[in-house]
Amino acid sequence: MSASAQTATREATSQTKSLNTAKRLSMRNLNKYYGEFHAVIDLSIDIEPGEFLVLLGPSGCGKSTALRMIAGLEDISTGTIELGETDVTTVLPKYRDIAMVFQSYALYPHKTVAENIGFPLKVAKVPKAELDQAVLDAANQVQLGELLGRYPRQLSGGQRQRVALARAIVRRPACFLMDEPLSNLDAKLRGFMRAELKHMQRELGVTTVYVTHDQIEAMTLAHRVAIMKEGVLQQLDTPKEVYNNPANLFVAGFMGSPPMNFVNGRIEGGTFTCHQGRAPVAGYGDHVNVEFGFRPEDTVICSEDEAHLSGVVYSSEMTGNETIVTCTIGHSTVVVKADKDYEIDMNEVVHIKADLEKVCLFDGGSGERLRG
């Protein structure tokens, strides 16, 4: 058998192996207390084998704590974690068959790239020849083949990130955990690594939990997104569903860039009314405190007689492919995405119309979604 054929076979077997080892990850009623502080509250998520799940939320929402509990780096106050068929709640991190990519990369500074990548295998006492081959395979997969002899301090940020990834994939673990792995890269590199990460995860088919506060990363990478706030899971669904059908005011305001607009008012006889206008909302009962939510891209600037709302222009920014018009409507600031050729001056009166099919209504007090 030729060398290349051997490599091909090896790749094929490792592929099948990885597909077979992808495991379901279940969190059941996870709770974490730091003294009096309740960091994670009753978190239950089932992650399918090979799924890419993103834990999304602002800083301090408990997403990283949840990830560290899965890794075994943080004690679990109550609840259980199952990986495959086994309950790993009290299992030490080293026996969990989990690989983690840290936000800081956590490369060993005194080891070369090859030694860094090979460390999990060295620990597992894999024979030298097999170890070298696996390190080479993993390094090639992230285009690091030529840098194996370098030390982390001689690498750029993007290269360090790749070493951390290679170290995670070399062992073919049952599950990947990633804690904001792209946050230390510049914007351009981040976009590129995002695509690469997605491609690699789909190719390896390893169950992945990814923590981020960047909703673009969540939208682009995830099979499903879990949005957290103050330790509580707000919504768990596909990126599309979370975007189009937010469960509450928080999710609606967190997803999207620029985020959803909200105007406060009330519903009376099937019509949403506020000081600056009105819009028909058929099928909703009367309600006194309502947030009328609509996305910037589902809104158009129109003539006065078709308008739902009216306000004045605060600023208008041409970004290249569109013009972002920010208007003040009563106490709310509303953003509208207009055509790139649209021009309007500051303080001019503006009339807008929302796509009523896509409008979301929320209770102004609890923030819960109102269903028609």
Binding site: P93, A106, L107, Y108
Partner: protein, 355 residues
């Protein structure tokens, strides 16, 4: 504009204290800088030079001095060296061997134990209960009073004190909690060093007298190890704390055991700290005088005692011989510093985390 830019990016302290590269300076500035550096070097090295030439002088040259340059100002003689290395050969060699054995062993002991304690303090969160500690101290005092004053059999006292401690710790300590943290433990350890050694030297003397260990290596080694332990813990705690926790957590997830993590990750990264600490503790033990004076009489005498003894002869202070002894005494420290210097380099953690 260009002058203020680095201040903003680097911060005031760094701009003030980070030396600018000499190579980039104007010739005039360069001359001044090198001139100042040379003057300082001479100032620092002069005492050592003086020591060297004094060891080559006889009583006449020392007393009628000052003479600076051998062969020009005065005729050098090897008499002091002859006294030290040939006539008093046995005393010198014994003190020298004692010093080496004692400082090496005590340093090894305190660095080994101290760095393990420091690692635990840097990585594990302890919550000792002040009440339990106080009960322990009370039981211990009771134990001493029982044995020392009332002359109760020590086995009986120890057994009953232990029993009373466990009973009280369980009955009271479980209910009343005044939790302390790692910071308190660290401060307590450091506070042991704040205490002046002269306060404890007599009790220590009596302790070793009771167990008949006076004038032995063991007594001095144990004392030095204990006295230097707080310094090791303090320094190494800082070094271990500066290693990013992510590295150890990552190693754990990679499947490494705690011992493996310590050996493969923590130890190589704290080489600089260990080298610096070893050097410092070694020099402290090498130069220590007070405890050595109390704990040794003849067999276990160390170099500082030998040097001091030169002071007490009936012929007055033997400056020439003393200088020769001091030169001999400096040599191992210089060698050790040169050997460890390459580990004490900056930037070992670079590239571990972030960019």
């Amino acid at each position: 504009m260009t002058a203020t830019a680095p201040t903003q990016s680097k911060g005031l302290m760094r701009t003030l204290f980070e030396p600018p590269a000499v190579g980039k300076m104007a010739t005039g500035t360069k001359l001044v800088v090198y001139g100042l550096l040379l003057a300082w070097t001479l100032f620092v090295l002069f005492p050592i030079y003086w020591l060297l030439i004094t060891s080559l002088k006889g009583p006449a040259e020392v007393n009628s001095g000052p003479f600076y340059v051998p062969f020009v100002d005065f005729q050098p003689t090897l008499q002091a060296w002859k006294d030290l290395l040939i006539i008093d050969y046995e005393d010198t060699l014994r003190a020298y061997t004692n010093s080496i054995i004692i400082s090496l062993t005590s340093t090894a002991l305190s660095v080994l134990i101290g760095s393990m304690a420091a690692y635990a303090l840097a990585r594990v969160s302890f919550k000792p209960n002040l009440i339990t500690i106080l009960i322990f101290v009370a039981a211990m005092i009771g134990c001493f009073v029982g044995i020392g004053i009332y002359g109760v059999d020590w086995r009986l006292t120890l057994a009953s004190a232990t029993a009373i401690f466990f009973f009280l710790a369980y009955a009271i300590g479980k209910r009343v909690k005044v939790p302390l943290g790692n910071g308190d433990i660290l401060f307590w350890i450091i506070s042991q060093r704040i205490l002046a050694p002269v306060v404890v030297v007599v009790p220590i003397y009596m302790m070793f007298q009771t167990v008949r260990l006076l004038d032995t290596h063991l007594a001095i080694i144990l004392t030095y190890a204990v006295v230097n332990l707080p310094i090791v813990v303090w320094l190494m705690y800082d070094f271990f704390s500066s290693i990013p926790k992510d590295l150890e957590e990552s190693a754990q997830l990679d499947g490494a055991t705690m011992i493996m993590t310590f050996r493969e990750i923590v130890l190589p990264l704290s080489k600089a700290g260990l080298a610096a600490t070893t050097l410092l503790v070694m020099i402290l033990s090498w130069n220590e005088y007070l405890f050595a004076l109390f704990l040794s009489t003849a067999k276990a005498q160390t170099m500082p005692i030998l040097v001091a003894a030169m002071n007490a002869g009936e012929r007055g202070i033997l400056w020439w011989t003393m200088s020769a002894v001091i030169v001999v005494m400096i040599i191992p420290v210089v060698l050790l510093a040169v050997a460890l210097q390459r580990f004490i380099s900056k930037g070992i953690l670079m590239g571990a985390v972030k960019g």
